[in-house]
Symmetry: C2
Subunit: 534 residues, 2 copies
């Protein structure tokens, strides 16, 4: 029998693998690792491999079939106990570039703020008399001037004769019937109405269409609460502070400006978008000052706003919003980062329906010497050749700076090429996509394909208050444990890219990157020093 020389084969194989991975964000870096980088990478790889067995290969109460990257709502508590998560929680993440402001803060924090506000009232369409009715009836909140509110005669939502009128929130909570859990029952009901639970995402509502109904409801519940300026102020502050605690140093928040006015401290619906931007700007400054006073100014660069409205409006109505956005950009050039049209793409109007006002918006920017990049949601769909999938064409043709989601991008060879050439980054939201049922787990998510094809990526949380993925650690975790290619160094490159693909001005960006780089090096050194036991 002839002896077989496999050395040529193995050399060819090595070359092929390098070629196949050449487009990845980590390709160059992995070829040039410092000893610290290489060691930190190995420590986290070993930790992941160990936990793939000890955590994801073990039996858990309430989890039928655990595996890395599995359904987030079922596995969140397990993730939080892992050493890998602990490392990632401490990782400097760079920028958070895709989050809808009104779904970014822990629901308990918001509930506490609601309960503090005397001008806030609550009502329901029918009395809550059984536990099942609490599951089906949503609270409606609104601020009112004390003199103008139409109070309910019955000051309890759980009284069978409750008439649907307004009740001060605190009173409604205190009078919540003991059979329904009393005040704690009220809290539970509120939290369930503003979050998605595993029974919904993985059972009763397990299609994209169904889970979006629940998801939309969560926004409906808190809508007029977050638009209430005292809460808005506290909410933005908490969003920024909690982001900083998760290692995020810069945020571009999408704010929903569909409603033309917001509620002032007096409970009147009279504040303008301009008033809200002033508040936003003052909170950002306040947080910066606080960080400075703690000698932590390197941990927070600032925050900007992506102006959004919802694709339920008519093309004619869009013009009011683009003019509004122009006026805001003129007055707050540092705060307005871009413009986007949002909503569930499979059921709202496609971008092309708004072509004329969007092109006009571009003309108007030129006229006024302003620059407001589009940062469009596009391709958040399972469709292939549907209007939602085709939104990717219009996002790219209209010159979008980044793409929100781009879940279906992997289906578009030419657009992928364009994204690579023009450095159009996808704002990938793995956990959001999974909970909203575009994918069933992260190993099935296109993120691995997208990274392998070298499409620029930033990882984002989307709507963490509804999903429970606050900060960026959870999304980084899910991506890391679902691939053998992606390691800590890859996540570092992704974090770095989040700053690169931000709308920060050149000088600011350079500073942000330098600060991140410094923290990143310290982070790696700390991993090496502690063997990953941070």
């Amino acid at each position: 029998m002839s002896s077989i020389d496999i050395s040529d084969y193995l050399a060819d194989r090595g070359k092929l693998i390098i070629q196949d991975r050449a487009l990845r964000v980590d390709a160059v870096k992995l070829d040039n690792l410092s000893p610290t980088e290489a060691t930190a990478e190995e420590i986290v790889r070993a930790m992941r491999a160990e936990e793939a067995v000890s955590v994801w290969g073990a039996e858990h109460e309430d989890i039928e079939h655990p595996f890395p990257g599995m359904e987030f709502l079922t596995s969140r508590s397990v993730i939080m106990r892992t050493k890998v998560f602990n490392v990632l929680h401490k990782m400097p993440k760079g920028a958070l570039l895709h989050a809808h402001l009104d779904a970014t803060v822990d629901v308990k924090f918001l509930l506490d703020r609601i309960l503090e506000q005397e001008a806030l009232y609550v009502r329901t369409s029918t009395p809550l008399t059984t536990l099942s009715s609490t599951a089906n009836v949503l609270p409606e909140f609104s601020p009112f001037p004390k003199s103008e509110v139409k109070l309910s005669d019955i000051q309890s939502l759980t009284d069978a004769s409750y008439d649907g009128g307004w009740i001060p929130v605190k009173v409604a909570r205190e009078s919540f019937s003991p059979e329904l859990g009393g005040p704690e029952g009220f809290d539970k009901w509120y939290i369930a109405s503003t979050t998605i639970n595993p029974a919904e995402a993985y059972g009763t509502h397990k299609t994209v269409e169904k889970i979006w109904e629940k998801f939309r409801d969560t926004f409906g519940v808190t809508r007029d609460v977050i638009r209430f300026s005292p809460i808005f102020r506290a909410y933005v502050r908490e969003f920024l502070l909690s982001s900083i605690e998760d290692g995020i140093s810069y945020v571009e928040a999408r704010i929903n400006f569909l409603f033309k006015t917001f509620f002032g401290p007096d409970g009147r619906n009279t504040l303008t978008h301009r008033d809200m931007l002033k508040i936003y700007g003052s909170v950002v400054q306040e947080v910066k000052d606080e960080m400075k006073s703690q000698r932590r100014e390197d941990e927070f660069i600032g925050s900007r706003i992506i102006y959004t409205t919802i694709k339920i409006i008519t093309p004619e109505e869009l013009e009011w919003y683009t003019e509004d956005c122009l006026a805001l950009k003129k007055e707050f050039p540092d705060l307005i980062a871009g413009f986007d049209l949002v909503g569930p793409e499979d059921t709202t109007k496609p971008i092309i329906d708004y072509l004329v006002p969007l092109l006009r918006f571009k003309d108007r920017q030129k006229e006024l010497g302003l620059e407001i990049p589009f940062i469009f949601h596009a391709g958040e769909t399972l469709g292939d050749g549907t209007a939602a999938d085709d939104n990717l064409y219009d996002a790219v043709l209209l010159g979008t700076k980044r793409i929100g989601h781009g879940f279906s991008m992997i289906k578009h060879p030419k657009l992928m090429e364009i994204c690579r050439e023009r450095k159009i980054a996808l704002e990938v939201c793995p956990i959001s996509n999974e909970i909203l049922r575009y994918t069933t787990s992260i190993p099935m998510h296109p993120i691995a394909s997208v990274l392998n094809h070298g499409i620029p990526v930033c990882l984002c949380s989307d709507d963490p208050s509804a999903f429970g993925n606050l900060g960026l650690s959870f999304d980084f975790y899910q991506v890391l444990v679902s691939s053998e290619k992606t390691g800590l160094i890859t996540l570092g490159e992704i974090a770095l890219d989040s700053l690169k693909y931000s709308t920060l001005e050149a000088g600011e960006k350079e500073r942000a990157i330098a600060l991140w780089q410094k923290r990143w090096t310290e982070f790696l050194e700390r991993i090496v020093r502690t063997g990953g036991d941070l």
Copy 2:
């Protein structure tokens, strides 16, 4: 306000979409449709659009959230009632290139054959005394010479004192306790043990790892039944005839040759692979003759075998199989189409473990002047950079003619380029991948991406007896209804490619394609003539 000219934009958009779709298998064809082709395409598109609402948008008993391309085991009965399915059932499909022979025939047909055979015996590890035990205990079948079988003292599997000995199958069925459903209870138990049901795939076994356990069990149950030559003969015949009835005109079947001997009519385990190939060849000829006698010879070109063994063997053991395959190829050059290594890739040995014997196999082919292309399973995994995912590198480097599954191919930009250049087709098995939980529905399946990137594809059924997707109509259906890009014309191009990428010799292939083309044209004409009401 300036007026906006959108004509340039729309022209650019049209161009971009054409560029983006240029790699698709239907790109050239869709630009050059005959009136008949165009009309047939439109009829099926309209039918699909109508049924997306009337069927998939309607309420169904037992289906919680219907949608096109949903879980097959839940929706099979709905699919079968659609007009689109009726059309596809009548479509000439070309070749079936990926099916494991011992999972290709309707389970009821096999049960009937089993019950006819007096040399077949059954046993279980414990008595079946409750319905739940029938769900957990599998039947074990084996042929025996009458004089050598060790019969059970108790001739009933459902008797509490049953001792685990062999019982003639017919007797075991007749004596099946009335509390467990009597003889029909036996049938149900048998069928449940050889098929995957929705409660398993979508409930109790809903991960790749778990469902593979059940899937493997189904093979275990029928293993020694199908290796029994009288049944083997009937099984192959039924497989070919039922394939023809579904519009398949040529088959390359993977046969599991792990066991070195098969059972003869006398019940002795003494037949060789050579004996089985003789049977296979004679059945193919028999079916050809029958088709000819019915003047339907155009509907069946023939069938060949892909020699397979399982990646549980050692690299040293492989040598026996490659030598066996060489000897068979020498004796049956027209029957042996290729060579493959099979098994669940995430848990069996990677291809590279067999590198030395596989390279030696190639050398030996040169020595003997034989050509047996590799047609490797590779990338049937959710992994990214795992050994199973890396199988794709070795399949390509070893010169595989096609790739079985290639589920993870979309993660490999360089390999995709190579597949396009070298015309390496993926044998995509959408329903198999969904039931085995690599994907949760067809809209989530990479097939749309694979088609858009212009990687050659043939659609295959894999293991239809276990999955219920007999023929190719179901797989074609799921792919058609899950995309707005893929239409009837696309399916036609895919069917045509299945013949192109087969191992048929040049002249034979030309003839097969010409025959298919003729039937395809007639099929389209019939659609146009009947408005799709075939």
